[in-house]
């Protein structure tokens, strides 16, 4: 395959490194690695909505949280095994995303931004007010079990790491499918010029909702994994600040750019973990990175390169 792009080669390289990483790391590092994988999946799902469809969505932590709480509630309150909660942890965020973004999907730019922040705030209020006695209020839910398959318990950190690794792999597979299908392209067309896109027969509503549905589904799956990794969920992990973080990762890393989003996640979530003394200044790092990137590289640290076309069309290109 000679038409593999430079970007996907870099992505494969990074994946290979992450695949062997646990063999060279202690469990604290593996835990950081797991967080990186989970947050990367969420960042990529944000990137489908923001980087591809161009929808200014600042409430993504809500879908991440819905996935996490679905697993937590079904496991702790209803005794479902974790494995059985996976499907609902994907489907429920998708359905809710379609229901709540359906009426606001026609909003543009800043209006959509405000509306999606609203969605996130309402979600946090529901959690904190212990809806139906299920969400556990401000403290959240504790005591989420580990994954069990045929009596085998996935209790070690390295197990979570590889599960998260598989999740990220599936996410990347979906992104690849999306980008090389009419669905991903339609999102880019809408993003770049919505009038032209419509005039070519592309329904803005359909493809934006499609982006939200996939984005929410992936975020939900990541949320489920997050809940199991920490064996607890609480509202502050899914508040607007987290949404801002996911939004920023995409813009700072580079919209619709695979390495860009990975770099963004690394800078925003992992660097502060690595340099412990940074942790208190975590938001300072964010802030400075955001400002500098927007001034110096307004399209992101590693901007996307278009031109993802079959090689037989490139024969006349000089």
């Amino acid at each position: 395959m000679k038409n593999i792009s430079k970007n996907s080669m870099i992505a494969f390289g990074l994946l290979a490194i992450m695949g062997v990483f646990p063999f060279f790391a202690n469990s604290a590092w593996i835990a950081i690695g797991t967080t990186f994988l989970v947050f990367s999946a969420v960042a990529f799902s944000q990137d489908i909505i923001l980087g591809r469809a161009g929808a200014f969505h600042m409430g993504h932590a809500a879908f991440f949280g819905i996935g996490a709480y679905t697993t937590a509630i079904l496991n702790v309150h209803f005794g479902w095994p974790i494995l059985a909660t996976w499907a609902p942890a994907v489907i429920i965020p998708v359905v809710i995303a379609l229901l709540v973004t359906g009426p606001i999907i026609h909003l543009r730019g800043d209006y959509l931004l405000v509306a999606t922040i609203g969605i996130n705030i309402v979600f946090i209020q529901i959690l904190e007010n212990d809806l139906f006695g299920l969400t556990g209020g401000p403290n959240g839910i504790f005591g989420i079990e580990v994954i069990k398959v045929f009596g085998f318990e996935f209790f070690e950190q390295i197990h979570m790491y590889y599960l998260a690794f598989i999740l990220l792999g599936i996410t990347l597979f979906i992104m690849k499918s999306l980008d090389s299908s009419k669905f991903g392209r339609a999102m880019f067309y809408i993003n770049k010029d919505d009038i032209a896109a419509q005039s070519m027969g592309i329904s803005i509503r359909y493809y934006k909702l499609y982006a939200f549905a996939i984005g929410a589904g992936i975020a939900g799956a990541a949320g489920s994994m997050f809940a199991v990794q920490y064996s607890a969920v609480s509202p502050e992990a899914f508040n607007v600040l987290q949404s801002i973080m996911f939004f920023t990762i995409v813009l700072v890393g580079g919209s619709a750019s695979l390495p860009g989003v990975l770099i963004g996640t690394f800078v925003m979530f992992i660097l502060p973990e690595i340099f412990r003394e940074f942790e208190t200044a975590r938001y300072l790092v964010f802030g400075v990175a955001m400002i500098l990137t927007m001034i110096l590289r307004p399209r992101g640290i590693w901007p996307v390169k278009f031109g993802n076309i079959p090689s037989f069309l490139k024969k006349d290109v000089k």
Binding site: D193, G307, K314
Partner: protein, 258 residues
């Protein structure tokens, strides 16, 4: 079914009290190259925007093969087979030329909703066929060498070609061109006229707005002249050209040719 492909009947469009189109009627026959001319601000682009669903006229009917399509959203208009180019070029500037043209294949692509998540054998076939179509169009318009170049990096003349290729990729029945020769040099204009004829030979009906009188007069078979939103004259080019009302309208406005 009507003998006309497109019929505009008494269409009016108002913008806050301004009458942009004033009870306008016209009929386009299958296979015609139909010209719309008129001074700046006459309402020509607004008419095209009404046909393509960007605007909904307040009054009148727009009949496509005898069926009223007024109020149909733009993406549905494209599905009906009405495709357009824009007066101010609207390309997906950062995307490659091939990807731009591929957007025209959107409505022809048979990919299923789950192909955005997972490829299937039918998907690979569909994807291949559509890219091949893009390849053919790039060859037809002499764009193959720019396949991977971002559309926004290319010259005005080339961008106009990309817009036409993109619209044609959707295999339209009616192709609507809003000032296709604007910004082109003389050679490019001659080449464009030839291309438009070739497109018609493929069975595509063409409606075009154009300020380049030489081109309109030599290319179109029927012309409607609009001034202040209303039709002031209509007929074959030779008739319209000598119609005193038309001459008057163009002298009255000082910007016949830009």
């Amino acid at each position: 079914m009507s003998e006309y492909l497109l019929e505009i009947k008494n269409v009016s469009k108002f913008f806050y009290g301004l009458t942009a189109i004033d009870a306008l009627s016209l009929k386009v026959k299958q296979g015609q190259i139909y010209g719309i001319i008129g001074p700046n601000g006459a309402g020509k682009t607004t008419l095209f925007n009404c046909i393509t669903g960007i605007y909904t006229p307040e009054e009148g009917e727009i009949l496509w093969k005898g069926k009223d399509i007024k109020g149909t959203p733009p993406h549905k208009i494209a599905e009906l087979g009405i495709l357009r180019t824009f007066q101010t070029i609207r390309l997906f500037a950062e995307m490659s030329v091939a990807e731009n043209i591929m957007s025209g294949r959107h409505i022809k692509s048979k990919q299923k909703w789950y192909n955005g998540l997972i490829p299937t054998p039918a998907y690979y076939k569909d994807e291949r066929e559509n890219w091949e179509k893009v390849g053919e169009l790039m060859e037809f318009f002499g764009l193959s060498q720019y396949a991977t170049t971002p559309a926004g990096d290319l010259s005005y003349g080339v961008q106009r070609k990309i817009e036409m290729a993109r619209a044609l990729a959707a295999e339209p029945e009616l192709l609507i061109l809003d000032e296709p020769a604007a910004g082109l040099n003389e050679n490019e204009t001659i080449e464009l006229a030839k291309t438009i004829r070739e497109i018609r030979e493929r069975g595509v009906t063409i409606m075009m707005i154009e300020h380049d009188m030489e081109m309109v007069m030599s290319l179109t078979e029927y012309i409607t002249v609009i001034n202040f939103g209303a039709k002031i004259s209509a007929g074959v080019p030779a008739f319209v050209q000598d119609d005193p009302i038309v001459v008057e309208a163009y002298i009255g406005s000082d910007d016949e040719d830009e």
